[in-house]
Symmetry: none
Subunit: 130 residues, 4 copies
DNA sequence: GTGGTCTAGACCACA
DNA sequence: GTGGTCTAGACCACT
């Protein structure tokens, strides 16, 4: 019924999901989020789990709470942008290191990616290139 | 004392560690592994934890057990090679998809990797660089 | 105190017991299983032993785990049915082969079974007779 | 390298193997058995393992030892025959009970066996039917 | 000395 | 209250 992986806490998967939507632009700064109950119902999980996810998102600075009104995506654009860039850099770094462990140098990876490029051209949905 | 990350089960970290040694060639098919007690002592963890890691490695097909003799790296070279190639492909695929979510196309990633290439040249130890 | 045979690991006997209950219809797909602690108490064994049995049942696909909720019989009816049919076929096959080794042909076995049939008539509880 | 199952002691598998050869007529009462060393070499196992298997076979009455001469299949034909008949009866009994657990009555099994009969006709190698 | 099993009991994250 | 993990330590069968 759920699409969650069982090896990771559900609340962290929710955190990641919301965070990704913010970073990708599916959710914009200032947007109102679903209520705990709505999201819990939609995802078929315990409301406590969503509550915990929101607490974590607030702790990390991605959302803010207005009591008796609702939760909103943070409007601190600078924070969001810096976080995103750092995350991209980290992801690439980890990737390069893992490939190196398998004996693949950046050059080899580039060759692979170049082959793949055509396939993905046009598939990207939320990016307009140059 | 331990060098383990606290966010993942130790036994799974041991599994990954041994698996990586096999895939990278630090351990060869047929090689005898440390005994449960030896590895437990070396890593300062409970023998049961190592036992569990070995059970998992055996379940996945990376090692075989000979009762009262020891454990050995699987000699199924084909399985190991296929697994490795699949793993590399998956890693790249996931990476490309994650980058796409951030709005970076393969082209952009290649540009980034090209910049990085110089830094890593000469650092890779087990790859034949022309 | 226990009704376990001493020549086989307890955890495997638990695995077989639960599996048989699923295949025979004593447990239905989606049913919640006893908790580890409950079953351990009922069978007078250590919770870890039950834990291990459940891990094995999950690995084989007969049950699924929901963290902090409980374990449930798999709802993959097709898997369960195929497994059952395969198991019946295997059991018969092995039996026939063993009999053949003793020099008994299917014909001889049929003769024996025919004699036995009367004795078992009416004893079967979960089969629709005639 | 070995054809032994890893979940059962090797020495018991050797016991079963020799016992089966005796019961099936591959080995006859009075036949001399391989020496411990020969069999150990042939099966690529530790001589101690074969030694233990022979001790067990002697304990059960299937073979006798003549010091400094060798081991021989027991010439107690009556014992061998009674054992064989008992074993056949037990095997059938267990089989019928297992089938009953799956809801298959002897009648159903007979139907299945009747279908199989043709296939096995002529395959039996060491039995001549009346 | 090796792996296999089991017990006893603890702490934690999660729902 | 549930399952997940880990420790500590024991006994056993097997090679």
């Amino acid at each position: 019924m759920n699409t969650f992986q069982s090896d990771k806490p559900i609340y962290l998967q929710v955190v990641e999901d919301v965070k990704m939507k913010i970073l990708c632009g599916d959710l914009h700064p200032g947007d109102k989020l679903e209520s705990v109950r709505e999201m819990a119902a939609r995802l078929s999980v315990n409301p406590n789990t969503i509550q915990r996810a929101f607490l974590e998102l607030e702790r990390q600075g991605f959302i803010v709470t207005q009591r008796a009104v609702g939760r909103f995506v943070s409007e601190d654009n600078q924070f969001l942008e810096i976080y995103k860039q750092q995350r991209i850099r980290d992801t690439i770094q980890q990737f390069v290191e893992e490939m190196a462990r398998y004996g693949m140098k950046p050059k080899d990876v580039i060759a692979y990616l170049t082959e793949q490029e055509d396939k993905y051209e046009g598939v990207n949905n939320n990016t307009e290139s140059e």
